[in-house]
């Protein structure tokens, strides 16, 4: 709960601060303003700041809307044109939006399929990041030790109901609660909906046994606190991140727009993201400040 509050405060500060730094020179100068959205969790806030600040450094006018909502909503806002771009994950896009129920065999396949899904809606998926922000199930070391848990199928050995915490939409996704039951055949699961970011707190308090978390979460920098269960069936797929941009927006903003975003994406490895997420979520630093430092260090600003 505290972490969520900190994250929200940090996000709020970041978005309001970042809007002030806009270069008047560069390829983006004089182009129509862009509304750049993010989903509703800290890593997205961070990604939003990274992309928006990089674009502003090139003279683009960017209206950053953090915390737009879940994939279903934010993607629809994109297709309806009330939003121009947002960072999406390849696996989520191909399953949630593309209703692909088969699991991708590789990151490359996942990206191609996702790109295809977006293409149908007049949306371009730019280059993917090296990092993967995949859902994983995390449990406490005590719980893992007690039931000798190493991978997701091991949960079947738990002789009681396993309370799993996840975002509300997790329940209906194949790459989620649904897949856990169908792909892994787990029958002893009970779903507990939580706001994204509060799963660790739920785990810590013992109100849930397992939590749907993300591979890039800052909390996972320390293996002593949480154990991540392996996913042998690749249920949670390949979740490289890539910005989604409406084709019309790309046409209007010119090639420098996509180039700028791709330059940022190329630098974002899993360890880089974990570090920055840890700064934002655990040390309550502002996503705008963290993004600013990173971009400056890599001469993108």
């Amino acid at each position: 709960m505290l972490l969520l509050a900190l994250a929200l405060v940090a996000a709020g500060c970041g978005s309001s601060k970042a809007t002030k730094t806009t270069a008047t020179q560069g390829p983006g100068a004089g182009k129509p303003p862009v509304t750049f959205g993010t989903k509703n969790f800290p890593e997205q806030f961070l990604l939003g700041e990274l992309y928006a600040q990089a674009l502003r450094a090139k003279g683009y006018r960017v209206n950053l809307k953090s915390d737009v909502g879940a994939t279903e909503i934010i993607y629809r806002a994109l297709t309806l044109g009330t939003l121009d771009a947002y960072p999406e994950y390849t696996g989520i896009l191909r399953t949630v939006i593309g209703s692909e129920d088969s699991r991708a065999t590789s990151a490359g396949e996942a990206y191609r399929q996702a790109r295809e899904v977006a293409g149908h809606d007049g949306i371009v998926m730019l280059d993917p990041t090296p990092f993967v922000d995949r859902d994983v199930l995390a449990v406490t070391p005590q719980f893992a030790r007690r039931y000798h848990l190493r991978s997701i199928p091991d949960l079947a050995r738990v002789p009681r109901q396993v309370r799993i915490s996840g975002a509300p939409e997790f329940r209906t996704r194949l790459e989620g609660y649904l897949g856990l039951r169908t792909v892994y055949g787990l029958k002893n699961l009970v779903f507990r909906a939580h706001q994204i970011g509060t799963q660790y707190a739920a785990l810590d308090s013992g109100s849930v046994d397992a939590a749907d978390v993300f591979t890039t979460d800052g909390q996972l920098t320390s293996s002593a606190k949480y154990v991540v269960l392996r996913d042998p069936q690749n249920l949670f797929g390949f979740q490289n991140e890539a910005p989604l941009v409406r084709q019309k927006v790309l046409d209007m903003e010119g090639p420098a727009f996509a180039d700028t975003l791709n330059q940022v994406s190329r630098l974002l490895t899993t360890s880089v993201m974990r570090q920055m997420n840890a700064s934002v979520v655990l040390r309550a630093e502002s996503p705008a400040v963290v993004a600013d430092q990173f971009l400056r260090a890599h001469h993108l600003k």
């Binding site: 737009v68 909502g69 879940a70 279903e72 909503i73 934010i74 629809r76 806002a77 909906a193 706001q195």
Partner: protein, 500 residues
């Protein structure tokens, strides 16, 4: 005076300006307080629209995307932009509130564009997904955030409204205090001004009026204060100059009158004394001349007889002269013995006295009926007698014809004695009333008869004059004030013959 009026006007002006300012500020504060209230009311409406948006979306999704449940949302979506604009216009005088409103409007825009529109679209296509998404949807959070922004706005606007209201009421109080103070000062100034006016204007004017009153009652020594250097001082001085000049004139007239009276009295005294003292030696001359005539006439030669006759004639004339002189000086002395006397009788008495001379001249004397007047009987008959005697005296060779008439004029009777005698040169018409003014043609008399007539008539309050031309006869008119005794006795116009 001018300075006081100016100061007073300035004071009133200053109070008025202060009052206008206070009232304007009060009105301004009140208007701003009302504006803050209006902003709160507009904010409430906008907040309700935001809630309608959220409940609309929620109801629509919960109902399985039944369009009827979207109605509150649709209505709110149409209205919120206008309502937001109204709210912005109501808070544009308060930068902080304007910032909050801008944030609120942007948040509602975000809610609509980035949440409700995608959510409704999703509900239409995939209601099951929409239902699961909306459970965690950021809608309630967004609306909650918006509502807390509204709360912030309301708190600050309410505080502003309270501040402005208390400001307005304190300014209203200030206006009342200024108004009352102005009224008190104004009344005080008016009172002082009135006091000043009473002291400096009313009093001097009243002094002058009192002076005028005294003067009109005959006290010409009255004076008004004249030491002031302004118009009131001028008025006082003008009044004093007038009063002084009046007093001087009156004194001069009085002195001249006294002088005249004294000289008249001396003259009368002189005439009386003189004539009386003259009688004594004249009597001696007359007696001895008479003795001389009786005892020694025969012894005188013709020259001596002629001389003696001259002496006798001289003494005779001297006696007549003295008698007339005494008569003249006596008339006008002492009280008139006035009574209602019929003029007819007086005329008759005069005629009796002159009967011998009338017969001698063969004169015819006629008269109209004459009125009864208030007069001294003896003196009135004297006037008639003198005028008749005069008419007989100045007749030419024809038999004299004399007619006496009387006419009533306003306030007086005019008696007219007309003759057919030699007449008088108009240039002499004034002179004949002077004592001893004998005209060249005079054949007899002392020349004092008309003077006596004038004295008597004037003593009765009347006038006497003559209309005449040489050889055309004369008309002597004299007036006696009408006593009213003969009212209605208008004399008949037809002359009634009186036998001569």
């Amino acid at each position: 005076m001018v300075v006081a009026s100016g100061a007073f006007a300035l004071l009133i002006g200053a109070v008025f300006i202060l009052l206008v300012f206070a009232i304007r500020e009060q009105r301004d504060s009140a208007r701003r307080a009302i504006r803050a209230q209006e902003a709160i009311s507009a904010g409430n409406k906008l907040e309700k629209l935001a809630i309608d948006l959220e409940t609309g979306v929620r109801g629509y999704v919960a109902s399985g995307a039944r369009p009827v449940f979207l109605q509150p949302y649709t209505a709110a979506r149409q209205a919120y932009t206008g309502q937001g604009r109204e709210l912005t216009s109501l808070v544009n005088d308060n930068p902080k509130a304007a910032g909050t409103v801008a944030k609120i409007r942007s948040s509602i825009d975000d809610y609509v564009n980035l949440y409700s529109i995608p959510m409704i679209s999703l509900a239409r296509d995939r209601i099951d997904v929409a239902k699961s998404v909306i459970v965690n949807g950021t809608g309630p959070q967004r609306i909650q955030a918006i509502r807390s922004q509204f709360q912030q706005l309301f708190d600050s606007e309410r505080a502003l409204a309270n501040k402005r209201t208390s400001q307005a009421s304190s300014r209203a109080n200030a206006a009342v205090v200024i108004g009352i103070a102005g009224l008190v000062i104004g009344l005080g100034a008016v009172f002082l001004l009135a006091l000043y006016l009473a002291r400096s204007i009313v009093r001097p004017v009243r002094d002058v009026a009192a002076g005028a009153e005294s003067v009109s009652q005959g006290d010409l020594s009255a004076r008004a204060p004249d030491e002031r250097s302004d118009e009131l001082g001028d008025l006082g001085r003008a009044f004093n100059t007038m009063a002084a000049s009046l007093e001087q004139s009156r004194d001069e007239v009085a002195a001249r009158t006294a002088e005249l009276e004294r000289s008249n009295a001396e003259l009368d005294q002189f005439a009386a004394v003189t004539s009386h003292d003259l009688k004594e030696p004249l009597q001696t001359v007359t007696v001895f001349a008479g003795l001389l005539d009786r005892d020694y006439r025969d012894r005188l030669d013709d020259s001596g007889k002629t001389f003696l006759d001259s002496i006798l004639a001289g003494t005779d004339r001297m006696r007549t002269l003295i008698r007339d002189l005494l008569e003249y000086s006596r008339v006008g002395h002492g009280e008139l013995q006035c009574e209602e006397v019929p003029a007819d009788e007086m005329l008759e008495r005069a005629r009796d006295n002159l009967a011998a001379r009338i017969a001698e001249k063969g004169a015819s004397l006629t008269s109209d009926p004459l009125p009864t007047v208030s007069a001294d009987a003896k003196q009135l008959s004297q006037v008639f007698q003198n005028l008749l005697s005069n008419a007989l005296k100045f007749s030419d060779d024809e038999a004299p014809e004399v007619h006496v008439s009387a006419n009533l004029f306003p306030g007086e009777w005019r008696f007219s004695v007309r003759d057919n005698g030699i007449g008088i040169d108009p240039s002499q018409a004034e002179r004949i009333f002077q004592p001893f003014a004998r005209l060249g043609a005079a054949k007899e008399g002392t020349g004092i008869g008309l003077a006596i007539c004038q004295k008597i008539v004037e003593h009765h309050g009347g006038r006497i004059w003559v209309e005449s031309r040489p050889a055309a006869g004369s008309v002597f008119h004299f007036t006696i004030p009408d006593s009213g005794a003969t009212e209605g006795q208008q004399p008949e116009t037809a002359p009634a013959g009186v036998g001569a």
